[in-house]
Symmetry: C2
Subunit: 226 residues, 2 copies
């Protein structure tokens, strides 16, 4: 089937291109309309292929949906781990570094197309596909939260932070940094670059007042002046 001696990639080029195009369109339509509301004809049209081609590739509306979620989960996870690599291990200026990290996480993982799509699909159809989303839970939050917590633990060990429970600190960090974006997220909107930055700045400031080490101590008394 696959060209046995092809130089670069096994299946013909146009084939994979169409596959990707279909996944893209399916993602977009499932997201907008939900699973039940999604129309295969519309997906095909949006992908620029015929309906039959969609069926050739994925066989079934449900299989297509599962493929989309799987794909999205993988891509999002990869993005998060990439971003996690930019976590400040030896911060020069911890506040600025954490803000940078938060903005990065937001821009590249939470607010981008994939992040929004995955979040919406999980919220909308999560209860209907328990095993599929169990996988997401293990592969996603189940791996990213501990990884993030470990980073905070290291920062604490190096004396840059003061915290008892790195897991809680990690959750508090993300919660604070996204605090001002929740309403926008709710309605599926994309916050502006500026909103992201503001939310991150305010969130990190509060985080450091709660969890800052010796160096950050100064911030507190300053902010505490009513």
């Amino acid at each position: 089937m696959n060209a046995p001696h092809a130089p670069d990639s096994f299946p013909p080029r146009g084939h994979e291109a169409k596959r990707a195009s279909i996944m893209d369109a399916a993602c977009s339509v499932f997201c907008r309309e939900g699973f039940a509301g999604a129309n295969i004809d519309l997906i095909a049209a949006e992908a620029g292929v015929s309906r039959q081609t969609v069926y050739n590739h994925h066989g079934d509306k449900e299989k297509l949906f599962v493929a989309v979620v799987r794909d999205l989960t993988e891509r999002c996870n990869a993005g998060i781990f990439t971003t996690l690599a930019s976590f400040p291990d030896r911060p020069a200026a911890i506040e600025a570094d954490l803000v940078r990290f938060a903005v990065c996480m937001n821009r590249n993982c939470l607010c981008n197309r994939d992040g929004k799509a995955l979040r919406k699909l999980i919220q909308a159809e999560g209860e209907r596909y328990p095993e599929l989303f169990a996988v997401w839970r293990e592969q996603g939050p189940g791996r990213t939260w501990p990884a993030l917590a470990a980073r905070f633990a290291r920062l604490a060990l190096a004396g840059h932070l003061a915290l008892d429970d790195p897991d809680i600190a990690a959750r508090h960090f993300m919660a604070l940094v996204n605090a001002e974006l929740q309403t926008t997220f709710m309605l599926g909107g994309t916050p502006t670059e500026d909103e992201v930055l503001q939310s991150a700045r305010n969130g990190v400031r509060a985080f450091l007042r709660a969890y800052g080490g010796r160096e950050a101590g100064a911030h507190r008394s300053e902010a505490a002046a009513s």
Copy 2:
């Protein structure tokens, strides 16, 4: 049409009962299946009425949906303002009082049936009904956030908190207090009483380290001991 001299409530008793029953079932089904996936026959069955009765009352699937969201918005709003009344104005023990308030807000407004339903419907169908959800936004977040912020401002004025911007503090408070429940919310689950309490306790502790006034200052150095 309505009994002109009825002693208690104007429309016949059974009529309103059926209406409520339909709204209830519709809410439940719309929530589970989404607007497109919701089936009028199923709603009727779940409400224990005939399909025709659903049409008699609401005329239209879309009108029914709008009625459900409107109803939900009102009820949730009412609940939030009621809960807001329990905000500690003159706290004896600020930490315990804030925890109590947070738990109350969670149990009665965010985790209950209506809260979960409204959240899900907004996330799933918000983009499709812009004007409907614009109303929600104004009536809901547009009124509740300032109200909550005002409470925090008062607490700060009385010297119990130290904060620059009460709006941000309010958002940070809610974010922290719900930090550990996000994953559960995502999948439409209901956190246990204990999870709610834990999340509130941890959240309030962090909040007070970030925003605590003079009295709460002691907490910080205590937690800062690695």
